[in-house]
């Protein structure tokens, strides 16, 4: 432990016996150490060290590895030189972010708390929602350098044992130097790492994670990351938000459908503009065609170039909006949206109809509650635009066929990604595109292959 300046070492006396104390002052609260370690030692009155410090644990003398890892986890190490005894006391206490509202998955109704960067607090958020001894937490330490703590959380009376084994096996097989966030670990655990689509759910909301656990899913959490990965999950679930269950069923169903069909609109809208204007202008009714050609009359580029330019401008605006400080961010929105949009139309660089279409499709790409999914859709859209530019509507449909072929090929923890659509499961359709009234949702999702099929008993009483 050389050049570790935050290592504090003290020596004090207990019953005239010298005790060396080591701790990392960046991981402990000194006043707490004083309360729990120093004071009892000074008032020992001839008692044995383990009687004085009832929470202390004895450490093997030759086990340097455990000693080090405990020290690095915020334990205080006590050397009793004369007795040849080493004790360690857990004095870990660091400042942490308080539990705040979720920024990325905000809802109007329902609980508003969200996970923070401390695994213990996140686990407590789940525990206080699920007061059952069946809630199991298995901990792992992965990352050769960083020694990250990972927790696999499941309800053992509901979750499929095979799925749990799969998750544990995959975590055991991970070899990496360290993880800075759950999304990184998630990519290593997923079935098809090369796909642009996320195959595990990712949520920062405890209510989302609790609902998943109750459905028999497995939640994976990483210390230092405010997200939980949910597996297995499906494509359709990427479009459902916990708020669907807080809303009335009819509203929730409408919103879900908007989210899901928004996906198709966002990938087809601008690419259809390209294909129709380049290859099939005859498809438009005369009135619409007149408006379109008029608005495009001064644009010198072919439609595909025009669309790509405007789409890229929108992407740049989004990216800049994230990086900008909040105060300037609003200005960027105005500059981007109004100045660039209007000016480019007036300058004849783009048609104003295209600006409308691109803005609609940009808005729609934000609609999925899952951020990774909305990013994947953004990427996929460019494929569609290029295919439309090369092969027209045929190209779009070919891209769609490829997309569906890909989605059908994906699995999440070995279960089909497109369930319950294909392969179909009628009972699951109650909670897929629509959110049926709660009395109709009697089964757990078949995808989780839960040990208990029904969410409530069927008895009449």
């Amino acid at each position: 432990m050389q050049n570790v300046d935050d290592l504090s070492s003290l020596s004090l006396k207990m019953n005239d016996e010298e005790v060396h104390v080591f701790f990392l002052d960046t991981l402990v609260d000194v006043s707490q150490i004083y309360q729990t370690v120093f004071l009892p030692l000074q008032r020992s009155d001839g008692r044995e060290p383990l009687q004085v410090l009832p929470f202390a644990q004895e450490c093997q003398l030759d086990d340097m590895e455990t000693l080090m890892s405990n020290l690095l986890r915020g334990h205080t190490i006590l050397f009793f030189l004369e007795r040849n005894l080493i004790l360690h006391v857990n004095t870990f206490q660091v400042p942490h972010r308080s539990i705040t509202k979720s920024e990325t998955e905000a809802t109007v109704l329902g609980p508003q708390d969200s996970f923070v960067e401390m695994l213990e607090i996140n686990l407590s958020l789940l525990r206080r929602r699920l007061a059952t001894p069946h809630l199991k937490v298995s901990s792992y330490t992965i990352g050769t350098q960083a020694q990250n703590k990972v927790a696999v959380i499941y309800l053992d009376n509901i979750a499929n044992a095979e799925n749990v084994e799969r998750v544990k096996k995959r975590i055991d097989n991970v070899i990496y130097h360290g993880f800075v966030g759950m999304p990184v670990l998630k990519q290593m655990l997923e079935d098809k790492p090369y796909s642009p689509f996320p195959q595990f759910g990712l949520t920062g909301r405890p209510d989302n994670a609790t609902a998943a656990l109750l459905d028999g899913r497995i939640v994976i959490m990483l210390n230092g990351s405010p997200d939980a990965a949910i597996c297995p999950t499906s494509f359709l679930e990427m479009f459902s938000s916990p708020e669907d269950f807080y809303n009335r069923w009819s509203t929730a169903s409408l919103l879900r459908m908007i989210r899901f069909f928004g996906l198709f609109i966002t990938i087809m809208l601008t690419s259809s503009y390209v294909s129709v204007l380049t290859y099939h202008p005859e498809m438009l009714p005369p009135a619409l065609l007149t408006i379109l050609t008029e608005s495009r009359s001064r644009v010198p580029f072919p439609p595909v170039i025009e669309v790509l330019i405007i789409e890229l401008v929108i992407e740049i605006l989004r990216e800049a909006g994230i990086r900008m400080p909040t105060k300037i961010g609003q200005t960027i929105g105005i500059v981007g949206g109004i100045v660039i949009g209007t000016a480019s139309v007036q300058a004849g660089l783009a048609s104003n109809i295209l600006i409308v279409l691109v803005s609609v499709s940009a808005l729609l790409s934000f609609v999925p509650p899952n951020f990774l999914m909305s990013n994947a859709i953004r990427l996929v859209r460019y494929g569609f635009i290029l295919m439309a530019g090369v092969l027209g509507m045929y190209g779009q449909m070919l891209a769609l066929a490829f997309l569906f072929g890909h989605l059908l090929n994906l699995t999440s923890l070995g279960t089909p990604y497109m369930a319950p659509g294909v392969p179909r499961q009628w009972t699951d359709l109650m909670n897929s595109l629509i959110r049926a009234p709660l009395r109709f949702i009697v089964n757990r999702n078949r995808m989780s292959r839960a040990k208990q099929k029904h969410v409530r008993p069927f008895g009449e009483d």
């Binding site: 005859e282 092969l391 027209g392 509507m393 449909m397 066929a401 072929g405 059908l408 090929n409 294909v422």
Partner: protein
């Protein structure tokens, strides 16, 4: 090597697979192919359906005797290694020809109607790549893709109502005003639109519920027959006899009957969506070719998939003239299909001579 030990096809997937391998490029010209029967052509699919159901009986009987083997392995077991392999090569050729048939007809249509200033190479290349990707996922992915295709293209049936409203239903009368000769010609000309169900000989080992497989295949076949009858009834009421005789793709003209306030010439969309139907047919056949090569080589390699793909691609864009190609697609492929469909009868006789009647071999 994929020995078909994991039984991954549930009943719905079997029905979807059968339906979508049958419906393909030939539906586009069905009314034209069957036009020898004049206005009576609308009931020709029922006739075809009966023939299909009859020829399915020996096929399923053969499959039941070899529940864990596809036709390639049945050949090797029944005919011996060398003779069996000769027939296997024939089947692989047949499968590749079918891939080319589906692709060629469709890509030429796309090129003439939608992309008139391009050659067929680029559209065909795209189609082939997507086909390879889907086929690489195995029969399970193909079956799932078929089921998705059904949902994705099935709604087009509702567009028939436009043509139906504009036409005259009375065209169907007199009901049986035809003769045997034209019925026979119609059956021969339009039988290609029923092809695809013979694939059951190859994916039978993967079926979960083998006891009811025959029923599920029949359900698939008769749904297709129903679709065909609906389409042909609309064609009969919408077209004149002359039109059906001379229009190569009557379906496209049926699309033209659709009038929407926000979209015109909806056949562009229709042809575009047809790519799902083409892919669901060609992936099935390509998978058969791949399986055949794997059985011969007794291991799984990616080139088993790529070689048939490249052959079928070069077949279309290669040096062969379009007339020769059409001869092969319309004549050779269909006669090979007749051979393959009747082949199980011969195999059953051979089986009963070698192993006794109804004996299961697995």
């Amino acid at each position: 090597m994929d020995r078909g030990r994991i039984h991954s096809l549930n009943p719905i997937l079997v029905i979807g697979l059968i339906m979508n391998t049958m419906v393909g490029v030939n539906l586009l010209g069905l009314a034209h192919h069957a036009s020898k029967m004049g206005y009576n052509l609308w009931w020709s699919p029922i006739l075809l359906g009966c023939i299909v159901s009859l020829t399915l009986i020996p096929m399923m009987a053969l499959c039941r005797r070899y529940p864990e083997d596809n036709l390639f392995r049945i050949h090797e077991k029944l005919l011996g290694k060398w003779l069996g392999r000769c027939f296997n090569i024939l089947i692989i050729v047949y499968a590749i020809l079918n891939v080319s048939t589906a692709h060629e007809g469709y890509v030429r249509l796309v090129q003439t109607s939608m992309l008139s200033n391009q050659t067929v190479t680029l559209p065909l290349l795209g189609l082939t790549l997507v086909m390879v990707y889907i086929t690489n996922g195995g029969i399970k992915l193909i079956a799932r893709f078929c089921l998705l295709t059904f949902f994705f293209t099935g709604w087009m049936i509702f567009l028939l109502q436009y043509g139906f409203q504009k036409g005259g239903m009375t065209h169907i009368f007199p009901l049986f005003h035809t003769d045997w000769r034209s019925i026979a010609e119609t059956v021969h000309n339009s039988y290609a639109s029923m092809l695809g169900y013979e694939l059951v000989l190859f994916f039978y080992p993967y079926i979960q519920d083998k006891n009811k497989a025959h029923k599920h295949v029949l359900i698939g076949v008769w749904i297709v027959v129903l679709l065909y009858v609906m389409i042909l009834l609309t064609s009969v009421s919408y077209f004149s006899e002359w039109q059906m005789d001379n229009l190569i793709y009557p379906i496209l003209n049926l699309f033209k009957a659709v009038e929407l306030s926000f979209l015109e010439r909806i056949e562009n969309l229709g042809i575009g969506l047809w790519v799902f139907l083409i892919l669901s047919t060609s992936t099935g056949y390509l998978w058969v070719a791949r399986t055949g090569l794997e059985e011969m080589a007794e291991k799984t390699r990616l080139w088993h998939l790529l070689v048939p793909t490249i052959i079928s691609f070069l077949f279309i864009v290669g040096p062969l003239s379009v007339e020769r190609q059409r001869y092969i697609y319309d004549k050779v492929t269909v006669y090979m299909a007749y051979g393959l469909i009747l082949w199980p009868i011969f195999l059953l006789v051979l089986h009963s001579l070698r192993f006794g009647r109804g004996e299961r071999v697995s």
